[in-house]
Amino acid sequence: MFGEKAIELIRELHRASDGQLPAFNEDGIRQVLEEMKALYEQNQADVNEAKSGHSELISTIKFRHCSLLRNRRCIVAYLYDRLLRIRALRWEYGSVLPNAVRFHMSAEEMEWFNQYKKSLATYMRSIGGGEGLDLTQDIKPPKSLYIEVRCLKDYGEFEIDDGTIILLKKNSQHFLPRWKCEQLIRQGILEHVLS
């Protein structure tokens, strides 16, 4: 049956149901494209044959054509779903992705991410009365200006606005302005402690 490799790609993505980005299956895409090329060429040949009298080939041509459409659908859905996941990373994690994630992205996807970042940044700069507004902050309505955070791993020095530096060592606790910490919490370096 045609389209087996294509459906495998979809299955792979569907398994990562929590929004994780699996590695870009370059090999898989290539195989699907190869299958599509073969189908297309076979159909081209058979169309010529059918035109010169072999009308019984029409059902076969139709068959292959459906398979081509199927493969296309699978690839487009695969790429699109991955873009949705990558977009989510910008909002959930931040604008600098960890290496582990970057290794899973293709060069084009990386490029898309950069463009998306730029668009978002431009937009955010334009709102908020000229000053700009960071929409990726305060995703949950804040309850207080300052929060207590605990350091989950050794991070080193961390600079806050007015130039002061804090040393983030494992198991140290800090009471800091919320907006400073949000990113580091989302990245798993700090833990928000509720008392």
Partner: protein, 213 residues
């Protein structure tokens, strides 16, 4: 679950979601058909090789093909294939469903009972009206239990509860659980707690396996 990642939703009724991963998987399920004309050079592809891989599949052969192919080859004049109803949508099973919908293991029978069943209506079967009715009634009959169990299973192993649900029902169940968990966390005062992105946490766990592969 990561809140910023919103996958494309499955379609509704006769329409499929083109980009929906779920619908693509659903349309991979097979159904029984009959070839209404010979299909040259497709013997190997259709698993009927015998001696010749590029041989022709004769007219009248019984086939099992995926839904997407059936939809593509079908037309109302039935020139290429004609479609048969899978047995769970036939009369005998329909009576089972109407008798007691809750007893049936839709995961084993499906797992896309509702989605697939809705798509079947594209094939102009004379039983379409009954099929549609059965599917609807089954859903109505099972919905209450799904809602109840999703709202009352907190912090426990739900595998027994979801084992017999089809995919659409599982989505509903998860939605119910999410609502429950969100409420509980709000009640415990954790709603305002900023959490690490779930995308990141799992990457850390998987890092070593990725390096190995």
């Amino acid at each position: 679950m990561s809140e910023a990642y919103v996958p494309v939703e499955a379609g509704f009724g006769l329409e499929e979601g083109y980009l929906s991963l779920e619908d693509i998987l659903m349309s991979q399920e097979r159904l029984p058909c009959r070839a209404e004309t010979a299909l040259p050079r497709l013997a190997a592809v259709l698993g009927k090789a015998g001696a010749e891989p590029l041989g022709s599949v004769p007219e009248g052969t019984k086939l099992e093909i995926p839904l997407w192919l059936a939809k593509g080859l079908y037309d109302n004049k039935r020139r290429v294939i004609s479609v048969e109803l899978p047995k769970i949508y036939k009369e005998s099973w329909r009576t089972v469903f109407t008798a007691d919908a809750n007893v049936v293991d839709l995961h084993k029978l499906g797992p896309f009972y509702y989605g697939f069943g809705s798509q079947l209506l594209n094939f102009d079967s004379p039983e379409n009206a009954e099929i549609a009715q059965t599917i609807l009634q089954t859903f109505i009959g099972r919905f209450r239990r799904i809602m109840d169990s999703s709202q009352n299973a907190y912090n426990e192993d739900t595998s027994a509860l979801v084992a017999r649900l089809d995919e659409l029902e599982r989505v509903l169940f998860r939605v119910g659980q999410k609502g429950l968990n969100d409420f509980q966390s709000w009640e415990m005062g954790q709603a305002s707690q900023i959490t690490a992105s779930s995308l990141v946490q799992n990457y850390r766990k998987r890092k070593f396996t990725d390096l190995d592969s």
